[in-house]
Symmetry: C2
Subunit: 120 residues, 2 copies
């Protein structure tokens, strides 16, 4: 699954679906994006594209499709981070920089997660 950037609308829609724990239909998604006054087909098109890109899975529900994220947002974010990391020639330097850049409490979280890994 190549992690590529998403457009703004695509991301809004992913956010909606990530926030949900049930698969939604296009109509339902559209209702949740009310701020923007989008044509129903717009939403459908984007859902379709996201599916083709592998970000969503869909299953039939009568005539309608129900969409749900193929992956959790956390996984997606972690993949993005790894992909960024891949871009460098010197991974350890980048990791070190990254470590320096995360703020205190988050450094804690990272440390704890890493420590747990060690123990296994």
């Amino acid at each position: 699954m190549s992690v590529k950037g998403l457009g703004e609308l695509e991301r809004s829609i992913m956010d909606i679906l990530w926030a949900q724990n049930t698969p939604l239909t296009a109509r339902e998604v559209g209702r949740l994006i009310e701020e923007r006054d989008l044509a129903p087909t717009t939403v459908m098109t984007v859902l379709d594209r996201l599916t083709r890109k592998g970000f969503l899975d869909r299953t039939r529900d009568g005539r309608a499709w129900r969409y749900q994220p193929a992956e959790s947002r956390d996984n997606y974010v972690a993949e993005l981070m790894l992909e960024a990391l891949d871009m460098t020639g010197d991974r350890s330097a980048a990791l070190t920089r990254f470590a320096q850049a995360v703020s205190g409490p988050e450094a804690e979280i990272l440390l704890r997660a890493l420590s747990e890994l060690e123990e296994e």
Copy 2:
């Protein structure tokens, strides 16, 4: 400095400049991308765009410009990673995922960098 994605050629050029410790002129950069047979103006255009996007700084050298990265590659990568992290609602979950995803030796590096931070 908004961290945006770079195109392929843009990235190649950044890679060249990141690999160098001296600012280069467009001509010099062009010579280093020989694999591709690019017109000199192509290189100049891209250098110009990268400068406007804030990825490069340039200073005069006679009539020519000398370009150099505004930021180290490691910083750039770290920023990309942080930006990815910003995209999530639950940063700690994403961080935990990330920690689980980095491979052993790299987890070591991270751990060490983080520990050093703690000590200060």
